[in-house]
């Protein structure tokens, strides 16, 4: 596919890198010559210097033949204008990043009038992610599939967990009380693998399990993990994510304490969020945190603009004994270090945005041919979970899974049939109309038929 990315910022560049890696023809436009030079050095894409909201620049960049136009510049208005012009000039799909909460209210109208096929708000998407993590505090990461029927949950195996030290195939005999879930992926020492029956989980591994919500919840109960729901949350930093997050979780009955440094911002927040306990102060001051009884909180969410402050506050909270700590971090370079420090739940708006857009683009490859319904990049993008809808004429329907030859490092994680979740074993079959979740350590799958080797 021909993809045109406007704006070579963090998100634009990540997208370009991934899409180029998946054999798409990518062009990237930015008005900063230095940034373009850097892209030229690092990415195998066409780099064009110019203003992405200028029709001539877009024409030169080949917008008329583009399948997808992604506007990810810093300015909402530029993005909207870019999509408007691009759509008129012949781009098939237009995706815009629109982050101002004020535009968000009239988003439907804007999308229709401007011809934007997908509008993504990084802060809102991040807030949504965080709110899900707060609902399932035992998970360090959570992805849901099949309209929320299936959850894929990540947790860190600990020394005294019953699953540790036993080959997976003997697990049910030893611990008959453990509900049956599928062990989808394990990360150890930075390497991701899909565990087979002989695999032994060790303490410190990051484990992904899948199943329906009820089973998953009872599984974690049986494991002795904390399944009590979060009641009191402290948020540090009063940015847009905090605003959206508060709006989302306050109605579910969670008490929110929000700490913001800037008095003016704090005043506006307290006006807009009447049910939130807004404090004005430095969120990294241990004095203040103790005073506001951080130790009694069920969760702490660190959302300041500075990654370092978030990490430091997060580390302090983990030591104080807060059961759930969520930290925002935009820099990918160091993300491998955090699990070792005890910080498991890291959210990155940049990564969330790019995987949302990637999911949308993936779903549109080749017109009707493929059907990626949902895509989640997990374990820092080292593995992907993809949801597909199975069609009638697919060649692999009705054959037991053990007779199908699969692509390496790939797994059928879940089958959803008529609203019922099946954790598949060798004898199960895939039928037309099912939703199937595939887990793969090799990125770039866009069609279910790629998974089954003929």
């Amino acid at each position: 596919m021909r993809i045109l990315v406007v704006g070579a910022g963090k998100v634009g560049r990540t997208l370009a890198e991934h899409l180029a890696g998946e054999e798409h023809d990518v062009s990237i436009v930015d008005k900063d010559e230095k940034v373009i030079d850097e892209c030229n050095d690092r990415l195998d894409v066409m780099c064009i210097h110019g203003n992405g909201a200028n029709a001539q620049t877009l024409i030169d960049a080949g917008v008329s033949k583009a399948d997808v136009l992604i506007a990810a510049t810093a300015g909402d208005e530029v993005n909207m204008l870019c999509c408007l012009i691009g759509k008129r000039l012949g781009a098939r799909y237009a995706i815009a990043r629109i982050r101002d909460p004020q535009y968000n209210e009239s988003l439907m109208l804007l999308q229709q009038e401007l011809g934007i096929d997908m509008a993504i708000n990084p802060e809102r998407a991040t807030a949504l992610e965080i709110s899900r993590l707060l609902r399932f505090p035992f998970a360090s990461n959570i992805e849901s599939f099949a309209k929320g029927l299936v959850e894929m949950v990540e947790f860190r195996a600990q020394e005294n967990d019953p699953v540790v030290g036993i080959p997976l195939k003997h697990l049910l005999n030893r611990h008959s009380h453990l509900p049956r879930v599928l062990y989808a992926a394990v990360e150890r020492d930075g390497r991701v693998s899909i565990p087979m029956g002989d695999f032994i989980i060790r303490a410190g591994d990051r484990v992904f399990v899948t199943g329906d919500i009820v089973t998953i919840t009872s599984y974690f109960k049986a494991m002795g993990k904390n399944t009590t729901s979060v009641k009191h949350v402290m948020i540090i930093g009063g940015g847009k994510i905090s605003y959206y997050l508060s709006k989302m979780i306050v109605p579910t009955g969670i008490h929110v304490t929000l700490i913001e440094k800037n008095p003016e911002k704090a005043a506006i927040l307290s006006e807009e969020l009447p049910h939130v306990n807004v404090l004005c102060g430095d969120g990294t001051s241990t004095e203040l945190l103790k005073q506001e009884s951080l130790g009694d909180m069920d969760a702490l969410v660190c959302l300041t603009d500075r990654d370092e402050e978030n990490i430091m506050a997060g580390l302090f909270a983990t030591r104080t004994g807060v059961p759930k700590v969520i930290v925002k971090n935009n820099r990918q370079f160091f993300s491998d270090l955090f699990p070792d420090m005890g910080l498991d739940s890291i959210v990155s708006p940049k990564q969330i945005t790019s995987s949302n857009i990637l999911r949308y683009v993936r779903a549109r490859i080749g017109g009707q041919g493929t059907r990626v319904e949902k895509l989640h990049r997990i374990l820092n993008g080292k593995a992907e979970a993809l949801e597909f809808a199975v069609r009638k004429d697919d060649s692999f329907t009705g054959i037991p899974l053990m007779n199908l030859k699969m692509k390496n490092n790939t797994l059928v994680a879940v089958i959803v049939r008529k609203g019922k979740v099946i954790v598949p074993f060798g004898k199960d079959t895939i039928e037309a109309g099912d939703s199937v979740v595939i887990l793969s350590c090799e990125p770039g799958i866009s069609d279910l038929s790629e998974v089954f080797v003929k």
Binding site: A20, D25, V26, S27, E33, N40, D41, R42, L43, D44, V45, M46
Partner: protein, 481 residues
């Protein structure tokens, strides 16, 4: 330093080289001059070494950094030349290694200078290989490797940038592998067109192939001692003149032509200058040669062929231009510095650099009497980045410095006169082929000793890779990890 990755890439280039020896081997078998085993052994030895390098190097990191990019380009050209010399050695055509290496380097760098002592013993297979190295070296072997194996390494644009002639790399399409493929398609198409045209002029297929390959790479190896003059055919000369001029044009222009982007072509300042310089030089030379040849038609015939040959840095000859009057020789001498367009297969400093150097000179003069005037240098209607101008000035200086240094080092051997030694160095760095004096159209480099041949080989490589990749090799810090 990621040595494993470097070794692996060198290995893959060796494999490409071994594969490209196949046509020469087939021709050797077909003609039966007894050079079949030489080609076969060279091929097998190259393949074996390359295979070991490719399959036993396991790079942990696939990302190329800029420094490795330059290093790989320089090392792979040396690697290529050493193994490319094997057929000359094994067939006994050039029994000493410095001679064989010189011939191989001269082939790959599309210089076309030769050390063949005589043209009596010309085994068809090895001589075909000699011309085929022009063709591979013209477009660049890394470009070819990238076209065939685009997933060799991440950020492989460093490689293409270091290998492609010209100050900046213009990608035709987003993916570098696809760009490389398009370039080779155009290259193959143009080469076949020339070969067909030469067949129509009455050349036999072997001669047509040799001269088409030599023109395409702008190399200049011929299988006859008196080069193109051997045919004594105005038609052949006309066809070759046209194609030499075409191969001196930036290949992106042909791509635009196929896509009917006439605006891009009209906007291209380098192309206008290139054509302008060609036509002017031909007219001036014609006038200068009138007293020598007497009539207009033969003056323009020799003038146009020789101009095209020198500007495109091919170095084919139809006449011994060393016997021309000094004004005419001076024209060719100056043209030897310049070469053709960036992004073509030709050598020299490139027209685009000469344009920008002239514009900078003009700006400096203007600056002395109007210091407050803001002057932005423009090319193709866009402002040119100051950092690019700086690097071009530095390149211009480095080019002349290398030519002088080369002349000095060659002269240390103590042979020949000043003109010969100087033009030997210039013709090597500019990848033209013949110079003046003893290395002129009727002479060759055969009279030099092994020392001067090695120096000349290095100069040719430096010229083909546009100095920096080769100079990098001599910088001590590069080898420190």
């Amino acid at each position: 330093m990621n040595s494993a990755l470097i070794i692996r890439i060198l290995g893959s280039i060796g494999l490409v080289e071994a594969i490209s020896m196949i046509p020469a081997w087939v021709i050797a078998l077909a003609y039966g001059d007894g050079d079949g085993p030489a080609m076969l052994y060279s091929m097998l030895l190259t393949a074996a070494v390359a295979f070991l390098m490719y399959f036993f190097a396991h790079p942990k990191e696939r990302t190329l950094r800029a420094r490795e990019g330059f290093l790989i380009v320089a090392l792979s050209w040396i690697f290529l030349s050493v193994f490319g010399a094997l057929p000359f050695l094994f067939s006994g055509l050039l029994p000493s290694f410095p001679d064989a290496l010189f011939e191989s380097v001269s082939g790959f760098t599309t210089t076309g200078a030769t050390v063949l002592p005589s043209f009596d013993f010309m085994p068809h297979g090895v001589i075909f290989w000699r011309s085929f190295t022009h063709w591979i070296g013209g477009m660049g072997v890394l470009v070819l490797t990238l076209a065939l194996l685009p997933r060799l390494a991440d950020r492989s644009s460093h490689l293409m940038r270091a290998e492609s002639p010209g100050p900046s790399l213009s990608k035709l399409v987003p993916r570098i592998g696809d760009s490389a493929k398009i370039l080779y398609m155009i290259y193959i198409a143009l080469t076949s067109m020339e070969m067909i045209a030469l067949l129509f002029c009455g050349l036999d297929p072997y001669d047509a192939a040799i001269h088409a390959l030599g023109t395409a790479g702008t190399g200049g190896f011929s299988n006859y001692g008196d080069s193109v003059a051997h045919f004594q055919s105005g038609q052949v000369e006309l066809v070759m003149t046209i194609f030499m001029c075409l191969f001196g044009i930036n290949f992106a222009i042909f791509y635009f032509g196929i896509h009917r982007s006439w605006k891009e072509i009209r906007n291209n300042e380098e192309l206008r200058w290139y054509l302008g310089i060609l036509i002017t030089a031909i007219l001036v030379l014609t006038v200068m040669l009138l007293p020598v040849y007497g009539d207009f038609s033969s003056s323009i015939r020799y003038a146009s062929f020789q101009t095209a040959s020198v500007v495109s840095t091919s170095g084919f000859c139809t006449v011994d231009f060393d016997l021309w009057p000094v004004q005419a020789r001076m024209v060719l001498f100056v043209l030897m510095f310049m070469g053709s367009c960036a992004g073509s297969t030709a050598g020299g400093m490139k027209v685009i650099r000469v344009i920008l150097l002239l514009k900078q000179g003009h700006r400096e003069i203007r600056h002395t009497f109007q210091p407050r005037k803001v002057q932005r240098i423009r090319l193709d209607g866009h402002g040119v980045d100051e950092s690019m101008l700086h690097s071009i000035s530095a390149f211009g200086f480095a080019y002349i410095f290398i030519v002088l240094l080369g002349a000095f080092l060659i002269a240390l051997e103590g042979k020949y006169d000043l003109i010969t030694n100087f033009t030997a160095s210039l013709t090597c760095v500019s990848n033209v082929g013949p110079g003046f004096g003893a290395v002129g159209p009727s002479g060759s480099f055969a009279g030099y000793g092994p020392y001067a041949k090695i120096i000349s080989s290095l100069l040719m490589l430096a010229g083909r890779l546009e100095l920096y990749p080769l100079l990098v090799l001599f910088h001590p810090n590069v080898w420190k990890t």
